[in-house]
Amino acid sequence: MAYYREHYPEIRSAGASAVAVSVDAPDKSEALRGHLSLPFPVLCDTERRVVRDWGIYNSREKGGIAKPAVFIIDPSHLVRYAAVDTVVRRVPAAEIVSSLKNAAKAQKVRRRVHVPLFSEWIRAIRNSIQR
């Protein structure tokens, strides 16, 4: 979660946001949010209803907890990305942030007529002359 905190400005500028969810009670979650200085809400599924509905409930540990998992949900409720963390495979946080940035970039390109960057051509020509 520290990774998402560090990269939250990028997530926000890509037009996205984040929330964390666990089975912890509000007081415990609020303590964690403060401890990690999380810039996004922390939700409390104390009844384990959502973790069960989403198929990521781990009943074998600590009285029943969530399996670490990451989803990207778009405004039409469509799941764009889903990954459940296992011992063998960790959910790649960097990949998630870059996918959000790429999605935002793709939207911008679609909206705008592409103009070639003339300044880059000039720079390339100058560099080749200097060499």
């Binding site: 996205a16 984040a18 409390c44 509905d53 990451v70 990207i72 799941v79 959000l100």
Partner: protein, 44 residues
């Protein structure tokens, strides 16, 4: 137990209190753009 949603499926709506006991709905959280939904182990 329910199946983990995969890319291309629709996410099930939910409502949960946040750490300040304010109720949050999924539909409200996704109303302005994509949402990264992070489930963590908790209960350490």
């Amino acid at each position: 137990m329910a199946k983990v949603p995969i890319a291309g499926e629709l996410a099930q709506e939910f409502e949960l209190p946040d750490s300040t006991r304010v109720l949050r709905r999924l539909s409200e959280l996704i109303s302005h753009g994509r949402l990264v939904l992070l489930f963590y182990r908790g209960n350490w």
